[in-house]
Symmetry: C2
């Protein structure tokens, strides 16, 4: 279509001047600036990004590698993309569908100069395979990893879950049942371990048969309220995998006349905005800051800067449901 040459010719200036106008860089007399701008507007000209990428040797784009559309991804992405944009970067989603080859393809984009860095939610290939790509650009992951080449923004959910359990114990509860999200995820494993250790430490019985996995929606939370009501030996406190599930429970409980926390105490997880609306005691999980840190780590490597990172820790937010 139209290129910088054409604009230059029509405006009666050199390509360099057109470039200066487009990028508002360097000195341009206001008069010529307007002249050039008019031609740009008239021809509806937009620079060819591939030429710019090639010239600059960077794409100002970060690849976000994930095996699928998860709930985490969607939250993470929005925080990550926002902070990235603030620093002039775009984010492109690279879905692998749990295929190792697709993941390799994503990393190849780093090598092929299509993206400047990668943030990886969950890996499919071995770390040794992934590590090799770090020489083509920075790689940061959400998972726990001990590699000098790959940085991480991992948070140990063991700590967070423990916070909730201890809080309920202090409130006098001895019949605590926790629920979990994705069964095989490392975070669920860590949370489960916290439960195990808690039971052993406090000498209370771990009633595994009452717990459940793969809970995500508020609809499922509602269902749990019906389950609790029907249960003969009712637990006195429940610890939910997300605020979302917890508020489903609260909504159904309210409709059924179950009194929280009198009949049963409820603790959520995430401290999402809905938690406050339901006056829900929850564990603050600073995913937003985690996403910012992830970007900062990439940016620091890319631009040899030293932007400070947010300190990350789980926090108990005590509200009215305990």
């Amino acid at each position: 279509m139209s290129n910088i040459n054409e604009i230059a010719k029509l405006a009666g200036v050199s390509r360099a001047t057109v470039s200066r106008v487009i990028n508002s860089k360097g000195y341009v007399k206001e008069e010529t600036r307007q002249k050039v701008q008019k031609v740009v507007d008239d021809l509806d000209y937009t620079p060819n990004q591939n030429a710019i990428y090639l010239k600059n040797g960077e794409t100002k784009t970060i690849g976000l590698v994930s095996p699928d559309f998860s709930d985490i991804l969607s939250h993470f992405l929005s925080s990550f993309a926002t902070i990235a944009k603030k620093y002039g970067y775009q984010v492109t989603l690279l879905l692998t569908d749990y295929h190792q080859e697709s993941e390799i393809e994503a990393f190849q984009k780093l090598k092929q100069k299509q993206i400047d860095g990668i943030f990886q939610i969950v890996r499919s290939n071995e770390w040794e395979v992934i590590e090799k790509y770090s020489k083509y650009g920075p790689i940061v992951t959400w998972q726990r990893v001990t590699s000098p080449k790959i940085e991480s923004v991992f948070m140990d959910h063991y700590e967070g879950f423990k916070l909730g359990l201890d809080h309920l114990y202090e409130k006098g509860h001895r019949e605590i049942v926790p629920f979990f999200g994705i069964e095989k995820s490392l975070n669920t494993v860590a949370r489960y371990k916290a439960w195990q250790d808690f039971c052993q430490e406090k000498g209370v019985a771990l009633q595994a048969e009452k717990s459940r996995y793969n809970l995500h929606t508020s609809t499922e939370g509602r269902e749990l309220a019906r389950w609790w009501e029907a249960e003969k030996e009712k637990p006195t406190a429940l610890l939910f995998p997300t605020d979302n599930v917890a508020v489903g429970f609260l909504a159904e409980a309210r409709e059924r006349g179950i009194s929280v926390p009198k009949d049963v105490a409820v603790v959520g997880f995430d401290n999402s905005s809905i938690a406050e609306l339901f006056n829900l005691t929850t564990i603050d999980y600073p995913m937003h800051l985690q996403a910012e840190n992830a970007f900062f780590k990439l940016y620091n490597q890319l631009k040899h800067k030293n932007l400070p990172l947010h300190p990350l820790s789980f926090k108990l937010i005590t509200r009215g449901t305990t």
Copy 2:
């Protein structure tokens, strides 16, 4: 890093020859081919895609524009990406989060030569705004649209839903309750209209209060089984928004000793693979073919070809649940 020049120097040949080896194009003596290949392997060389894109004037990439991660998107994407790959195209996901400006940014990529064409699930901007971008590359959409510039693979769900309702009527059912997916979606509106028209045509009562919206998961299907069981005036037939929801109903029904289709007839929607496993009567919704058509339409415009399109129509698949 290493570029084609370096390879050429080390292999003692010209850039042109290296290019021929890399792309297996043109004549190269086997001996020199091997010599070059060795250097390529040794240096772990990969061509810079931006240079290739610039040179070729195309990226062999289609942008898939969607406002969010929907269930539809995930299914559509996998079919679409598969057929695209077969023709040498990649697919990149462009999420707009329902923001008009984000959608514009996605279309800008067409203008900036970052993608060759666009498939759009659901628009946020007016068609007049979107149309303007069609001069930079082909645009195909999943929605209904009458524009000479934008092609569509729209299917009217009215037809499909009608098929299910008529089938149940023929089987003698007069107490039919349909359920729906996303409340405001155009497809839901079309399905609802089919229900209205059906009731009027057959002279049966439309019991809107028994129906429900926003049903997606099999867990929600299970819940509907419990609802049905508790209901005093039980409908004799149910029409579900997706097979997924329907099989949840079937699973729960089985556990509760509800007999299908004796106690209640069940019809799904989509004819997904799970439908066959549950011997579920359903409406075949050829999304896979729709995705292929979407790509073919883009490809035909891009390459001035004339690949034939699949004929698209809803089909009733009668199985054991009616």
